[in-house]
Structures are given as structure tokens and as C-alpha cells.
């Protein structure tokens, strides 16, 4: 009953520092690339969804969806801003998917954007803490890295996960980013780099954390009929799932897993009719290294508690059993929070089209994206297929 949905165009800015460049300009760069890539005319876009987390707090600008669209000369159509912390644009992708799957629209633009680097680190730290429960957790001094540190410690206690295993995630992702021209970092690191970096929220150190970044990512979604008119290489979104959980960590049954990720993954696998072993590549939400290890487990790439071993054994490297974060991930590609969900989709599209250059995974046919909002209170999972 639901219609098929294709990604027919993608556009990214380089992630990293863009001093004094406003978010509307980052958006425009990515949007024009995506429109050109799709081969559509600007006026063909019928509706738009823009994911962004903190444009009001950081850049002093609210109501950004029509503002962004206007900056590329596109007014009139419905333009909606979705916010789900670091999953703001994963949520936008799902809204765009719904608009087309329902038969309401034929061509939809979905964007993610965030401008973060023109502000002092303590301001950004304070701002990111808005993604945790302000009354009961942030108010006690818990920061956003702190949230994941609490989970890292719980995972270490329960499964014996080590700081070296976490560091290995950063090493792999920095290596992958070497081959991604859009990545913020192009610098190989080793386990020692991570272990000897300064502590941010023990046991997490600077190199366990994704950086503060600016960037925008835009995709053009289309219905089946329209997709076939514009491209011979559509990439199909075969599952779009979203789940929620408590905001406060103290209310979770367990602190070694994201329940919302497990729920969204289960729904997505069912919707796509595939199993974890069928996934060829995955872009997962490694905002902190521990998050990638937990993602392996939540997505069924390994058993619960085996995530540390999976990275240690190289199974998630390019060339391994299930390459994860070929783009460099949030850790090395960069993490302009609102842009991440769409950027993950773009990396999978590049891989499934065979356009990923030196980081290409041969024969990749099915890819998955996993976008975690804030403390894990929102998670979206998408499965794409060429």
C-alpha cells in the first residue's frame, strides 16, 4: 500500500570549520549539489524537511526551514523544521519518506544542517547538554560526553570492554576518513593517540569524542515513477523506523544498550525483510567511541557484550565482515549534529552507487544508517538498497 521511495540526488558540504559562514549558506551549497545530482529543477520540489538541533541557541536564528528554502529561491512549498537532538535529520528523512510513501508527494527535499564552530567550547558544551534532561541530569552537572561516559563505564563493568577497544573505533574511523574528501579530519591516529589525549568525561578522552563541526547535507527523495524518469541508479529506502526512550539515563532499565535503537532496528529489519547478516555496510552514530561498540550490538552485528571484540578483530573495517562508518563516522568525518542523519544516508548512497572511491566496499548492495538523538531518547534506523 505504501509507495516505494528512492534517493535520486545527494549533496554535502565539507564538514569542519567554516568561520562566519551562516547555516543558510551551508544549506545552499549542499542543496544545489543535491538538485544538480538529481537532475531536477528547483521548482520540482514539492515539500521540504530540515533537521537541525540548535540554530536558535547557537546561531540566534529560529524558524529555519522557510528561511533556508528562501535563501535558495524556493518559497511557497511547505517547509518544516524537525528537531530530535543529534537525530534531527534522521527524523527529517523519515518525514520525507512518509510524504512520498503516502502518495502525497512525488519529490521532496530533506536537509540536515548545523553551524557550531563560531562559538566558545563552554557555550557549545552547555548547548549540547540541552539534549539531556535539564531538570534531573544536566542540572547536576552531567554533560553530553558524560552521558556516554556513564554508559561506557557500565559496559566496561558488565562486559569487560576496554579503553583500548574504544580507542580502536577512533583509529578505524580516522583511517577511513583519509579517503573521504568531505571529512573534517585527514589524519591517521593510533591507539596511543587516543589513550594519551586529555580526559573529557572519564573514561572518555578527547579522541573518544566526535568534534564540533559545521556542515550541511541534502538529499532529494522521489516516488518510483518519478525516480525512473530522472535516474538509472536510484537507491531505494526500503525501511524507515523511529523509536523513543526515556530522556534521563537513571530511568533506563539498562545502561549498556539503547532500547530505542533495538526497537527501531527490529522494525526496520522487518520492514525491509532483511536480517543483520544481510547488511553490507552501515553508518552508525559514533558520537563517542563507546556508542559505535553499543551500536554493533543493538543492530545485531554481534551478540550483546561482544562489540569490543568485533572492533578488535577488525570485522568492521573496510574489507572486514561488516564495514562500519566507511565515511569516517561522526568521529572523523565530523558531527554537525543536525546534519548527521542525512549525511549518513549520503555515504550509503555513495557506496551503493559504487562512487565511494578509495573507501568503496565492493559489491555493496544493502546499507543501513543508525542515528541516535541526544541521550538515545530518539533513534532512527534506515535501510537502503540499490
Amino acid at each position: 500500500m505504501m509507495k516505494k521511495v528512492a534517493v535520486i540526488g545527494v549533496g554535502l558540504t565539507k564538514f569542519g570549520k567554516h568561520p562566519k559562514v551562516s547555516s543558510r549558506e551551508l544549506f545552499a551549497e549542499a542543496a544545489f549539489k543535491a538538485i544538480e545530482d538529481a537532475g531536477i529543477d528547483l521548482k520540482d520540489v514539492e515539500e521540504a524537511f530540515v533537521g537541525s538541533f540548535l540554530p536558535d541557541v547557537l546561531e540566534h536564528q529560529g524558524h529555519i526551514a522557510p528561511l533556508m528554502l528562501d535563501y535558495i529561491g524556493l518559497t511557497g512549498i511547505p517547509a518544516t523544521h524537525t528537531e530530535g537532538a543529534c537525530a534531527s535529520s534522521g527524523v527529517a528523512v523519515r518525514m520525507g519518506y512518509m510524504a512520498i510513501a503516502s502518495g502525497l508527494r512525488d519529490i521532496v527535499l530533506v536537509a540536515g544542517v548545523e553551524k557550531m564552530t563560531d562559538f566558545p567550547t563552554s557555550d557549545v558544551t552547555e548547548a549540547l547538554a540541552l539534549a539531556s534532561d535539564d531538570l534531573f541530569e544536566a542540572s547536576e552537572g552531567l554533560t553530553f560526553p558524560g552521558v556516554f561516559a556513564l554508559m561506557a563505564k557500565a559496559h566496561m563493568d558488565k562486559y569487560g570492554t576496554t579503553e583500548e577497544q574504544m580507542a580502536a573505533v577512533a583509529v578505524k574511523n580516522h583511517h577511513n576518513a583519509l579517503f573521504n574528501p568531505y571529512a573534517q579530519f585527514h589524519k591517521e591516529i593510533n591507539i596511543e593517540t587516543v589513550l594519551s589525549s586529555r580526559v573529557i568525561a572519564w573514561p572518555l578522552k578527547l579522541f573518544d569524542c566526535s568534534p564540533i563541526s559545521d556542515g550541511a547535507a541534502v538529499i532529494i527523495l522521489a516516488s518510483e515513477d518519478v525516480a525512473k524518469k530522472y535516474t538509472d541508479t536510484p537507491v531505494w529506502i526500503v525501511a524507515s523506523a523511529q523509536a523513543s526512550d526515556t530522556m534521563a539515563l537513571c530511568e533506563r532499565e539498562e545502561l549498556t544498550t539503547f532500547k530505542a535503537a533495538r526497537m527501531a532496528a527490529e522494525q526496520a529489519y522487518k520492514m525491509a525483510g532483511v536480517k543483520p547478516k544481510d547488511i553490507d555496510i552501515a553508518e552508525v552514530h559514533d558520537c563517542f567511541t563507546i556508542a559505535e561498540i553499543i551500536a554493533y550490538e543493538d543492530l545485531g552485528f554481534c551478540e550483546k557484550g561482544e562489540g569490543g571484540k568485533l572492533i578488535e578483530e577488525g570485522e568492521t573495517e573496510i574489507g572486514g565482515r561488516i564495514p562500519v562508518n566507511t565515511s569516517g563516522g561522526l568521529k572523523a568525518k565530523g558531527h554537525p549534529v543536525g546534519a548527521t542523519g542525512v549525511a549518513q544516508i549520503i555515504e550509503v548512497v555513495h557506496q551503493l552507487r559504487g562512487e565511494a572511491g578509495k573507501r568503496q566496499v565492493d559489491g555493496a548492495e544493502i546499507g543501513l544508517t543508525h542515528n541516535v538523538g541526544g541521550t538515545g531518547a530518539t533513534v532512527t534506523v534506515h535501510i537502503l538498497r540499490r
Partner: protein, 130 residues
């Protein structure tokens, strides 16, 4: 009914008086913290305020070195999730431990409630049970 929802304000009034209070479900007897507008166990919305024993154990913790602006002067400090005797867990500052020696802080260690002042407010905290 309108008054029944104003639980968060009440909770923090108790904290500011250095009282560690929580909700108890009138129907199933479950203890609830942080305050919620519904008992997740039985769906009841009838509660009473009860004083918690303040006893618990350390479930997990972190040491914050890079703090948000309003807590810059406190860093480094320990934040932990505390398993309370009554059932719920709560996130709080952990004091009376050395933030510079996290290896000496043990999950599972017995704790008791205390209160500290930071950011011109009273914060919930726990310290090792002697």
C-alpha cells in the same frame, strides 16, 4: 487534577530544603523518582510524597573534566547514577571521593544522600557510607 501535575516544582522545593523526597504509588506501592505524572508499573496517577531512606549504591559514574559554563568552577567532579534502596535510580553528584583517582571509585559501593551547594542552588549528592 491540575495540582496533581505540579510534582517537579514540589520535588525541587524539597531538595532546596535538603529533604530527599520521592513519590509512592497509592495503588501498587511502587516508589517513583524522578517524579513522573504516572506510575509506569500500574498506570495509576495517585501518589503520596514519602521521604526516601537516602541509602543506595553506585550503579555507574563518570568524572566531568570539561564542564558546562555554569559548572566550570566545579570541575573535575563526579556524577553518578545511584541505585536507591527503594528501587528507582537517580543521577546525582558523588562527593567524598577523589575525582582525580577514578580507579579508586568502585561501582557497587554503598552511598548515602547528602546535599551540596553549586551554581547558587542546592544539588542532590551522595557520599560513601562510612
Amino acid at each position: 487534577m491540575e495540582e496533581a501535575e505540579r510534582l517537579v516544582k514540589k520535588y525541587f522545593e524539597f531538595v532546596s530544603e535538603k529533604k530527599f523526597m520521592g513519590l509512592k504509588c497509592k495503588k501498587c506501592g511502587a516508589y517513583i523518582l524522578p517524579p513522573k505524572s504516572i506510575c509506569k508499573k500500574c498506570g495509576s496517577r495517585e501518589f503520596e510524597w514519602v521521604e526516601f531512606s537516602g541509602k543506595g549504591s553506585l550503579y555507574t559514574f563518570t568524572v566531568i573534566h570539561v564542564a558546562a559554563k555554569r559548572f566550570l568552577n566545579d570541575a573535575p567532579f563526579v556524577v553518578g547514577v545511584v541505585q536507591l534502596e527503594e528501587g528507582p535510580r537517580i543521577t546525582a553528584r558523588i562527593v567524598g571521593v577523589d575525582p582525580n583517582k577514578p580507579e579508586t571509585i568502585k561501582t557497587g559501593m554503598p552511598l548515602k544522600v547528602t546535599f551540596i551547594e553549586s551554581d547558587e542552588k542546592v544539588l542532590l549528592a551522595f557520599e560513601p557510607e562510612k
